[in-house]
C-alpha cells in the first residue's frame, strides 16, 4: 500500500525532533561526500534534516510546467541564435537582450536549426508557490548547479533516515540520472558511434567543483579542467598521460562567456581556445550550448507568457514572478514610485540583488538615479508571499521555499527528475540569490511520494555498468605525484621529530653529549627534511619543522600542498579517503594554530590519518595510472628522504659516546627500529643499519624497496618510460663510508623524477595576444 503525501508529511512532522537530532550525522556524512566543500571551498550549503514531501500528482503537474519552460527556452535560444524574429518583431525589446553580456555574438548561427540537435541537454527551473498557485522564479540554463547535490543529498538522507525512507518510499532518482547520462551522450555530433563525454569544470576552488566531480563519478564521465583539453585539427582532445584522446561532448560547467578565450572575452585559463570552432565544424557538441544564458535574461523572462503563446502556441501552465523592465518608461515610473516594495536586479542573469525596503535612503536614491539614467539595464520584481515548508531550526519552523526541478533533454524527449533541490529561506530575495545573513537559505531533499508507476527507491543498478576508461589528464597525474610526495614528506618530518623527542626523553643529557654532536646531526637532518634554515646549528628547529608555514617542506606546508592537490582531483579519491582527508584538514588547522607546547601533540595526532591515507592508497585504490603516479611520488620522496636522513645523521662516523643513540634515531625515524631489534637482537651496528635501511628488499621502508616499486609503477603506466637504468648498489659498509654511493642513488632517483615530469606532466600555460 502506498503512503499518501499527507500521511508522509504528518510522519515527518511527528518525527521532526528525532530527525532533527540527526543533523550532525547528516552533516558528517555530507562532509565526506562533498569533501572539497567541507574543506573550505565556497558555497558550502547546509542540508536540512527534514525532507520536503511532495505529492506525486503535484509533482507531475510541476514537471509539466518545467518541461514547458524548457521547450520555451529551447525555442527562444533557437530564435536568438538564429533568425532573431522575437527581436525583429519586438516581442521582446531588443535593447534589453542586446545589452546582455550573455548574448554571445560569435554563437549566433552556431546553434543548429530546430530539429538538428538540442540547444539544451539539461535545464532547471526554480518553482515556488504563492497562495497555493505555482509561480516560476527563474530558469537555470547556462550552468545548471545542483544536479549533483540532489543525488548526494538523497543518498545522505536515505542513509541517515533509513527507516523513514523505507517507510515513505519516495521515488528513486537513479533512473533519472541514467536519462541524464543518455541526454549528454546523445548530444554528440551524429557521426560518432561511441562518444566520449567530459565535464568541463573551472577547477578546484570554484563554485560547485566537488559537486561536479561527484556527478562525473556517478555518471562515469571524465572531469576536465580547461588545461586538460586542446583543440587540434578542428577537433577536441583530452590530454591524458597516455596521449591525446578525442572528445565529442563537453558538458559545460564553465560559464558560456568564458568557454573560448579565442572568440569570447574571458580569461585564457578558464576556457578552451578554439572550442567554438569545433562546434562550428560539428566535431564537438557543447551541452548546454554556448550562450544558453541569454534565455535566463530577465526581460525575456518577463515576456514568457507572450513568448509561450507565440513560439509554442500554448498557454503558459504557470505564472512567472511579476517583473517590470525599467527600459519601458511606464514600467520605470511604476518602479521608481514603488522602490521600497520591489527587488531590483540587472537584466542579465546573476548580478546583485537590491531589496528596496532594506536600502538606506541614500542607497535608494542612488539606485533610483541609476535606473532613471540607464533603465534598460534593470528589472524589478514584486516581493510576493511564498508558501512555506517545515524547516528544522532546533524546532520546526515554517519558511518560504522554492524548488529547483531538473529536466534532461534528449532530442524531443524530456524527463524530469522525480525529486528536487528545495531551498528555504527567510525571504524571496534570498531565494533569488541575495547574499548576507538576512537572506540565508538552506537546502532540503525533496521526496515525491505516492507515485503509481513507482520506480523503487532502492533500485541499485539503474545506472548500469560504467566504463570509466583508464584515462588520466596530465594535470591530474602531476597532482597525484605531488600528493604522494607531500604525503611522504609529512610522514617523514613527524617521524623524525618524534624520534628525536623520544631520544631526548630517554637520555635528557644527550643534547650536550660529545659537544652536542648528536644534537647538531639531528638538527641537520631536520633542516634538510623540512627545509628550515637560517637558525644557528644549536637551535631547536623541530617546532619550525612542524608548524612553520614559510618553510618549504615543513609538516604544515606539506599538508597544505597535499590537501590542495587532493581537492583538485576529488574524483580520484574514494569517500573513505575523503573522510581521512577531512581529518587531516582538521588536524592541520589545529597544528597551525597550536601554541608551541601543543605542537607535538597536534603533530602526533596527524600520524594516524596519514598512515590511514597510505593504507587506503595501498588497499582500496585500483592500480590505475592515477594510483601509479601517487605511488611514484611516495616512492621518490621516501627514497630521497631516507638518503638525506642517513647522510645528515650518519654522513660522518659518530662519536662513540653518542653512536648508539644516533643509530637508533635513524632507525626510529625510518620506522625500522622494531624490525632491527627483532632481526638482530643485538647492539646496533652501523653496517647492519645500512643493510636494513638501504638494501633490504623485505623492508618496505628501505631505499631498495622504493626503487623496486618505482620500476613496477613505471611499467604499469601507458606510453612507457623505463626505469631500467636505475641501479641500487648493495651497500655493505658503514653509511659514512658509502655516502658517494648513497648520493649516486639519490641523483638517479631525482633524475628519473624529472624525466617523469617532462614526459608525462609538461604543461604549458596559454595566454592571449592581439595585434
Amino acid at each position: 500500500m502506498t503512503t499518501t503525501a499527507a500521511d508522509a508529511r504528518r510522519r515527518v512532522l511527528e518525527d521532526a525532533v528525532v530527525l532533527g537530532a540527526r543533523a550532525p550525522r547528516l552533516a558528517r556524512r555530507l562532509g565526506s561526500h562533498t569533501a572539497s566543500d567541507a574543506l573550505g571551498a565556497p558555497e558550502a550549503q547546509v542540508l536540512d534534516p527534514l525532507p520536503v514531501v511532495v505529492d506525486a500528482k503535484r509533482w507531475s503537474s510541476d514537471a509539466a510546467i518545467v518541461e514547458q519552460r524548457t521547450r520555451l527556452a529551447v525555442a527562444v535560444l533557437d530564435d536568438l541564435y538564429g533568425p532573431r524574429r522575437i527581436l525583429e518583431t519586438r516581442l521582446v525589446p531588443p535593447e534589453a537582450v542586446l545589452a546582455d553580456p550573455n548574448y554571445l555574438r560569435p554563437a549566433i548561427g552556431l546553434v543548429p536549426p530546430p530539429g538538428r540537435g538540442p540547444a539544451l541537454s539539461v535545464a532547471a527551473v526554480d518553482l515556488a508557490r504563492s497562495n497555493g498557485a505555482p509561480i516560476v522564479l527563474a530558469d537555470r540554463l547556462d550552468v545548471t548547479h545542483g544536479i549533483g547535490l540532489a543525488l548526494e543529498h538523497r543518498r545522505a538522507l536515505a542513509a541517515v533516515h533509513d527507516r523513514l525512507h523505507l517507510e515513505l518510499n519516495p521515488s528513486g532518482l537513479l533512473g533519472w540520472y541514467a536519462e541524464l547520462r543518455r541526454a549528454f551522450t546523445r548530444a554528440s555530433p551524429e557521426q560518432v558511434d561511441d562518444p566520449r563525454v567530459v565535464f568541463l569544470t573551472p577547477g578546484a576552488g570554484w563554485r560547485g567543483a566537488a559537486e561536479h566531480s561527484y556527478l562525473a563519478r556517478t555518471l562515469g564521465f571524465t572531469v576536465a579542467e580547461p588545461g586538460d583539453l586542446t583543440v587540434r585539427d578542428g577537433a577536441l582532445w583530452f590530454k591524458s598521460v597516455g596521449g591525446a584522446e578525442p572528445v565529442h561532448v563537453v558538458v559545460r560547467f564553465v560559464e558560456s562567456v568564458s568557454c573560448d578565450p579565442l572568440e569570447l572575452r574571458g580569461d585564457a585559463h578558464l576556457g578552451v581556445a578554439g572550442l567554438l570552432e569545433t562546434v562550428r565544424r560539428r566535431t564537438v557538441a557543447v551541452a548546454n550550448r554556448p550562450g544558453a544564458g541569454i534565455a535566463e535574461n530577465r526581460v525575456v523572462f518577463a515576456h514568457s507568457a507572450t513568448l509561450c503563446r507565440e513560439l509554442l502556441g500554448e498557454e503558459p501552465l504557470a505564472d512567472t514572478l511579476p517583473t517590470w523592465w525599467c527600459g519601458n518608461p511606464v514600467e520605470q515610473s511604476y518602479v521608481l514610485a514603488n522602490l521600497d516594495r520591489l527587488i531590483i536586479r540587472p537584466v542579465h542573469a546573476g548580478g546583485s540583488v537590491a531589496v528596496g525596503r532594506l536600502l538606506s535612503r541614500d542607497a535608494r536614491e542612488e539606485l533610483a538615479g541609476r535606473i532613471s539614467a540607464r533603465g534598460h539595464l534593470y528589472v524589478a520584481c514584486a516581493e510576493i508571499p511564498l508558501d512555506t515548508v517545515p524547516v528544522w531550526a532546533g524546532r520546526v519552523e515554517q519558511r518560504g521555499a522554492s524548488m529547483r526541478l531538473f529536466t534532461a533533454i534528449d532530442g524531443d524527449t524530456m524527463s524530469t527528475m522525480p525529486g528536487a533541490l528545495t531551498r528555504s529561506g527567510g525571504d524571496l530575495a534570498g531565494l533569488l540569490g541575495a547574499t548576507g545573513p538576512a537572506h540565508a537559505t538552506e537546502l532540503h531533499d525533496t521526496w515525491v511520494v505516492g507515485a503509481r508507476d513507482h520506480v523503487a527507491a532502492h533500485e541499485t543498478h539503474a545506472l548500469g555498468q560504467v566504463d570509466l576508461r583508464a584515462s588520466l589528464s596530465s594535470r591530474a597525474a602531476e597532482t597525484m605525484f605531488w600528493v604522494g610526495r607531500n604525503l611522504e614528506r609529512a610522514d617523514a618530518v613527524i617521524r623524525l621529530v618524534r624520534s628525536i623527542d623520544q631520544r631526548v626523553q630517554q637520555w635528557p643529557d644527550i643534547r650536550w653529549e660529545a659537544n652536542g654532536a648528536w644534537w647538531s646531526a639531528a638538527m641537520a637532518a631536520v633542516a634538510t627534511l623540512a627545509g628550515v634554515s637560517g637558525a644557528p646549528p644549536t637551535a631547536d628547529l623541530t617546532g619550525r619543522a612542524l608548524a612553520d608555514s614559510t618553510a618549504p617542506r615543513s609538516l604544515v606546508t606539506s599538508l597544505h600542498h597535499l590537501l590542495r592537490g587532493a581537492r583538485s582531483v576529488t574524483e580520484l579519491f574514494s569517500a573513505d579517503m575523503w573522510h581521512v582527508l577531512g581529518e587531516l584538514t582538521d588536524g592541520s588547522v589545529r597544528l597551525s594554530i597550536a601554541a608551541a607546547h601543543e605542537q607535538r601533540e597536534a603533530a602526533g595526532r596527524l600520524l594516524t590519518p596519514l598512515a590511514a591515507l597510505s593504507g587506503l592508497a595501498s588497499e582500496s585504490m585500483v592500480r590505475d595510472p592515477g594510483w601509479c603516479f601517487l605511488d611514484l611520488g611516495r616512492r621518490v620522496e621516501r627514497s630521497v628522504g631516507t638518503i638525506d636522513l642517513l647522510v645528515a645523521l650518519l654522513g660522518r662516523p659518530p662519536d662513540p659516546v653518542i653512536a648508539p643513540v644516533t643509530y637508533e634515531t635513524a632507525l626510529a625515524a625510518t620506522d625500522s627500529l622494531v624490525a632491527y631489534r627483532r632481526r638482530y637482537r643485538s647492539d646496533i651496528e652501523p653496517i647492519a643499519v645500512a643493510d636494513l635501511v638501504v638494501n633490504d628488499l623485505t623492508n618496505p621502508r628501505s631505499v631498495a624497496y622504493q626503487v623496486d616499486r618505482i620500476r613496477t609503477d613505471l611499467a604499469r603506466l601507458p606510453d612507457r618510460l623505463t626505469g631500467g637504468h636505475l641501479r641500487v648498489d648493495t651497500i655493505e659498509a658503514e653509511p659514512w663510508v658509502a655516502t658517494d654511493r648513497l648520493w649516486s642513488i639519490r641523483s638517479q632517483v631525482t633524475t628519473l623524477s624529472l624525466e617523469v615530469e617532462l614526459h608525462y606532466f609538461a604543461q604549458i600555460r596559454s595566454r592571449t595576444v592581439r595585434s
Binding site: 578542428g234 539614467a373 592581439r770
Partner: protein, 289 residues
C-alpha cells in the same frame, strides 16, 4: 575610380617557441557601396596546420587558423587589391539628426545603438555633443562638428593609450589614438540614441603630391560611421576631422574594436613576452602602368 594595393603584415616573435596557437583574423577586406574588392588574401608563415574562413554576424570575413608544432615566429600577411569610388552622399544625411534617432531600425542597427564592450555609455559623454546636436540640425553638419571637436580637444598620442585603455581614461586624459577617438565618437552618438559603428581599415600611406599625410597611415586605421534616417551610413574620421572621406579603405566593421580586431590569438608558450611588428603599406596603382 582609384585602385589601391594594400599590404598588411603582422609579425610575432616569441621569447620561447610557441607549441600551439589559435588565431582569428579580420584582415580580408569587404566590399562596400563605394569599394570593390577584387582580391584579398592572407598568407600565413609557417603554413598553418588548420585554417578556415567564414563570414561573421556583421558580414566581415574572418580567417581562423592554428599552428600545432613549435614555432618561434609567426607572420600573417594580407594583400588586397581594391577599387575605390568617391564616397556616395545621400540626401538623408542632411535631415535633422533627430530623424536618425527616431527612425525605425532592425536588430542589427539596435545592436549599434547600445553600449558594447569598448563603448560604455558614460554620463559625461553629453559634454561632447552639447551645443552641437541642437534641435533640427542636419545630421551631417552635427557629425562634422563632433568630429572637429574631438580633433581639436584631444591630442593624438600613440604613447598615451593601449588597446586596453578604458574610454573613461581617454575622456579624462584628452588623448589617444584613432581607435580611442572612434570609440569616443561612437559613444557620443549612441548616447544620443543614434546608431553608430566602428570601422577598421586603411589610409593611403603616401598621399598624392600637395596633400598632407594623414595620421594613422602607417598602421591599420579606425574610424566611425553613423546611420542616417534612411538606413544608409555616413563614415567620418575624428582622428583627421574628415567626414565622408573619399580614400579610406574599409576592412571590416562591428560594434567596436573587439568585434574586428585585425588579429588575435591564444598562444601556448612558456615565454612571457611576444614581440609584435606591424607594417601597413597602401599604394595607389597607376592606371596607366
Amino acid at each position: 575610380m582609384t585602385a589601391f594595393t594594400v599590404h598588411h603584415v603582422t609579425r610575432y616573435r616569441y621569447e620561447q617557441p610557441a607549441t600551439l596557437c589559435h588565431n582569428e583574423a579580420h584582415l580580408c577586406m569587404r566590399s562596400t557601396p563605394d569599394q570593390t574588392v577584387d582580391e584579398s588574401w592572407v598568407i600565413i608563415d609557417p603554413a598553418p596546420d588548420d585554417r578556415s574562413e567564414r563570414i561573421d554576424l556583421y558580414g566581415n570575413w574572418v580567417t581562423y587558423f592554428s599552428l600545432q608544432s613549435p614555432h618561434e615566429q609567426l607572420q600573417v600577411a594580407a594583400t588586397s587589391r581594391v577599387r575605390r569610388t568617391p564616397t556616395t552622399r545621400h540626401e538623408s544625411e542632411w535631415l535633422p539628426w533627430e530623424a536618425a534617432r527616431d527612425a525605425p531600425r532592425g536588430v542589427n542597427a539596435w545592436d549599434l545603438t547600445i553600449e558594447s564592450p569598448h563603448v560604455p555609455l558614460l554620463s559625461e559623454l553629453h559634454r561632447l555633443t552639447d551645443g552641437i546636436f541642437t534641435p533640427g540640425r542636419p545630421l551631417a553638419e552635427a557629425v562634422a562638428e563632433l568630429c572637429r571637436r574631438i580633433y581639436d580637444e584631444f591630442a593624438y598620442d600613440p604613447t598615451a593609450t593601449s588597446v586596453s585603455t578604458p574610454l573613461s581614461d581617454v575622456l579624462a586624459g584628452r588623448h589617444g589614438v584613432c581607435q580611442d577617438f572612434a570609440h569616443l565618437a561612437i559613444a557620443a552618438l549612441r548616447h544620443l540614441g543614434l546608431s553608430a559603428r566602428y570601422v577598421s581599415g586603411y589610409l593611403e600611406t603616401l598621399p598624392p603630391p600637395g596633400q598632407p599625410k594623414l595620421k594613422g597611415a602607417d598602421a591599420s586605421h579606425a574610424w566611425a560611421s553613423v546611420r542616417t534616417p534612411t538606413g544608409t551610413w555616413l563614415d567620418f574620421d575624428p582622428t583627421n576631422a574628415l567626414v565622408a572621406p573619399d580614400t579610406h579603405l574599409t576592412v571590416a566593421w562591428g560594434r567596436d574594436y573587439s568585434d574586428v580586431m585585425p588579429l588575435r590569438g591564444v598562444v601556448m608558450s612558456s615565454g612571457a613576452t611576444t614581440q609584435l611588428d606591424v607594417e601597413v603599406d597602401v599604394e595607389r596603382v597607376d592606371p596607366s602602368a
